[in-house]
Amino acid sequence: MSTPATAKPHKVVSRQEWLEARKELLAKEKKLTHERDAVAAERRALPWVQVEKNYLFDSPGGKKTLAELFDGRSQLIIYHFMFGPDWQEGCPSCSFLMDHTDPTLVHLAQRDVSFAAVSRAPISKIESFQKRMGWKFNWVSSGNNDFNRDYHVSFSPQEIQGKVEYNFELTEFPSTEAPGISVFYKDKNGNVFHTYSSYARGTETAVTTYNYLDLVPKGRDEDHLPFTMAWLRHHDRYDSGYLADANKPYWPDFNDPASSSR
């Protein structure tokens, strides 16, 4: 389904010439790595907010509190996975992120971090979609609580007619569900603190595929698309290009030449 652009005719040089250009770029790459370290340090220095509300999530094993999602560890990453209550399947872009998440879990656990995805879809829908995708991470439903509203990742159909509060600003947003990451800390007394949230491109570093694409000659190669992620499909649907929700409730309106031709 993808229509990769032809790479532009590229300048071919001697090894020596390449090396000079490469070393120049390397100095900038190192600078960016250090800037990234510095921003991560500032992130850790952010103050925290105590979570007073008692959120109850539906999990495959029954009701769970936010504190229980820590699973014995003191840090919890929640991925706000876009999966509305009346959708047939989870958002393809969120699924893209999750394809890169499962392999991290065993290592994150060694650094005192647990992970859970949270969506508004009922747990039965979540379970069958997760089975289809073959993911192992913990995934719970917030369909019966205020969690998604409080963390600014769910909006009413009326609200998205105008501007909603997303990514720390009032903005137009095409879907009732939005993506993001929220991070929590639990102390020894069981108090839970909200330490961090990031939305939109704030979670992009966690999409390893994009990080790889940033190294190849064509890059992400999304300039000719109606929106950046229009090429994406669920990992089991690249051949068919099939998306179960005809109205694509997770994406901006666009005419997809790939799906209309199938």
Binding site: H10, V49, I77, H100, H194
Partner: protein, 282 residues
């Protein structure tokens, strides 16, 4: 190995106060994203070098040339995975990187990219280790070719003895005979192959998604007490003391899944595990 260090006395504020601090940080994060985009554009603008040498790799379906590794696509990423001919297992840090490959493969393929790993160890060793790790990505042996030498990820005994080798674009002291890195190639329709990019050291860190996620949490990577290298906590994913997916069980019955893998006969001796000290070289 794992840590339960408690954070004490961290500043707790009202949601309104937090929002002010968070928005300030958001501006810096956005700036960083834009700088990353700009750098990626500069990377794409790099010239490339024609690959003239005929490298031959051992693969499960016989010998293959570099051009054949593209697998019908026009862009090829090769991860130089540290596994010397006489090692029993791949480097710990490289295995940590490789744990993240499989989830990306199908998406990369739909952006015209083939991602593979190349190591110097003979193919049968790679195959056995790949089975143990449960990996699906393609992994080829450069045993008997100059590939690793030419891309500066294998060093000679003389270089090791002298403590001077060329790695990450400079002559430096590197502790092992193998180095890690990622190289990018472009193949045109005439079958010519061009080397477009290579990165080493911390240049591969963005592909370790566990690190990308740790950069969001309160303790961060939490490696300041790790000795002798920041990655000292990393093990092959089947060698951690606890089984992550038995975590829920363990929280109910402490000790339930805490078997000591070192004591089981199948576990390779720790001394045979090699580590990439290079990931964190400045």
């Amino acid at each position: 190995m794992s840590t339960t260090r408690e954070i004490k006395g961290h500043e707790v504020v009202s949601p309104e106060e937090w929002l002010v601090a968070r928005k300030e940080l958001l501006e810096k994060e956005k700036k960083l994203n834009r700088e990353r985009d700009a750098l990626a554009a500069e990377r794409r603008a790099l010239p490339c070098v024609g690959v003239e040498k005929k490298y031959i790799f051992d693969t499960p379906s016989g010998s293959k040339t570099l051009a054949e590794l593209f697998d019908g696509r026009s862009q090829l990423l090769i991860y130089h995975l540290m596994f010397a001919a006489d090692w029993d297992a791949a480097c710990l840090g490289c295995s940590y990187v490789a744990d993240h490959f499989d989830g990306a493969l199908v998406h990369l393929a739909n952006r015209d990219v083939t991602l593979v790993a190349v190591s110097r160890a003979p193919l049968d060793k790679l195959w056995r280790f790949k089975q143990r790790m449960g990996w699906r990505f393609k992994w080829y042996s450069s045993y008997g070719s100059d590939f690793n030498r030419d891309f500066h990820v294998t060093f000679t005994k003389d270089e090791l003895a002298a403590g001077q080798m060329y790695y990450n674009y400079k002559v430096q002291s590197f502790p092992m005979e193998e180095g890690q890195g990622l190289s990018a190639f472009y193949g045109d329709q005439a079958g010519s192959v061009f080397h477009t990019y290579s990165t080493y050291g911390r240049g591969v860190e963005a592909f370790i998604n566990a690190y990308n996620l740790l950069d969001f949490v309160a303790k961060g990577r939490d490696e300041q007490d790790q000795k002798p290298i920041p990655m000292a906590w990393v093990r092959h994913h089947d060698q951690y003391e606890s089984d992550y997916f038995a975590g829920i069980l363990a929280s109910v019955m402490p000790g339930a899944s805490r078997s000591a893998p070192e004591a089981t006969p199948s576990a390779p001796p720790k001394s045979k595990a090699h580590d990439c000290c290079s990931h964190h070289s400045p």
